[in-house]
């Protein structure tokens, strides 16, 4: 029974630590932790570029209609989120108040 418990604990530990070696790393989608308008501007432009690229890929049949639909709504939603954040930051900077 002791052995079984140790084995279970070790399996748990290896499962928890696995993502640090396996799979894709990097950063999660941008959040409101971004507080610089220039970075948000860059994100917006990057999103538009990705949109155009994917649109071309779709038109040249490298992207299925379904995944193009998904890409499109995802990129649009990200664009809206980034714009809202940017609007908010620009407004607070104009009115001189920091939140």
């Amino acid at each position: 029974m002791i052995y079984l418990s140790v084995v279970i604990s070790l399996i748990l530990l290896s499962v928890l630590l696995a993502p640090f070696w396996l799979g894709r790393g990097g950063l999660l989608q941008a959040g409101s932790s971004i507080n610089s308008p220039s970075e948000l501007q860059a994100i917006k432009t990057a999103l538009l570029k990705r949109y155009i690229d994917d649109e071309l890929a779709f038109k040249s049949d490298n992207l299925s209609p379904l995944s193009w639909e998904q890409r499109k709504s995802f990129l649009t939603n990200r664009y809206i989120d980034a714009s809202r954040r940017l609007d908010f930051l620009e407004h607070t900077q104009q009115s001189g108040g920091a939140l």
Partner: protein, 174 residues
């Protein structure tokens, strides 16, 4: 083990000692033991003015050993006893108020299924009433009376942002 919660609730009451001998859910399960010949013979009236009064009174008294239901709906021994007393008093020509008064004197307002609107207990009735009555004027006053101007702190509506996005895409495609 599964002592009924009713025990803690009515601790200190007249019949607490009796209840502790009763089973887990006396209100629902009834009790075993020798059959009560009296209870067998007695059937509650269901018609006529006396029947109506009996129903009305016994449905506004709580079953002491159960939660949630009245003595009318319960066949626990205590409820049966209370029902017998109610029936006697109904037959003696007492009014609803007199009978309820009789039980309130013996067991306190606890025996009534809804708190009497007297003293502190009036709060229980005023609270919901005041929400119901004051609510609509409050909604009218705070929400509808005027055009509400909220600062969106410069954030545009999603539709405007999409328009901007379409325009910029057109620009980039060109």
């Amino acid at each position: 083990m599964f002592l009924p919660n009713a025990r803690t609730v009515i601790r200190g009451l007249l019949f607490a000692a009796l209840i502790s001998v009763a089973g887990s859910f006396p209100c629902l399960a009834g009790e075993s033991g020798p059959v009560d010949e009296d209870a067998l013979k007695k059937a509650w009236p269901s018609d006529g003015p006396q029947g109506e009064l009996f129903h009305e009174v016994s449905s506004s008294l709580r079953c002491p050993t159960c939660t949630g239901i009245s003595v009318l709906e319960s066949d626990a021994r205590f409820s049966q006893q209370i029902k017998s007393i109610v029936l006697e008093q109904v037959q003696a020509g007492k009014t609803r108020e007199q009978i309820l008064q009789h039980f309130t004197e013996r067991y306190g307002p606890w025996i009534l299924r809804s708190p009497p609107a007297k003293g502190f207990n009036i709060l229980a009735w005023l609270l919901p009433l005041s929400i119901l009555l004051a609510g609509p004027p409050a909604v009218w006053f705070f929400v509808w009376r005027k055009r509400r101007v909220v600062s969106t702190l410069g954030v545009r509506a999603a539709d405007d942002i999409i328009k901007e996005m379409q325009a910029r895409l057109e620009e980039m495609r060109a």
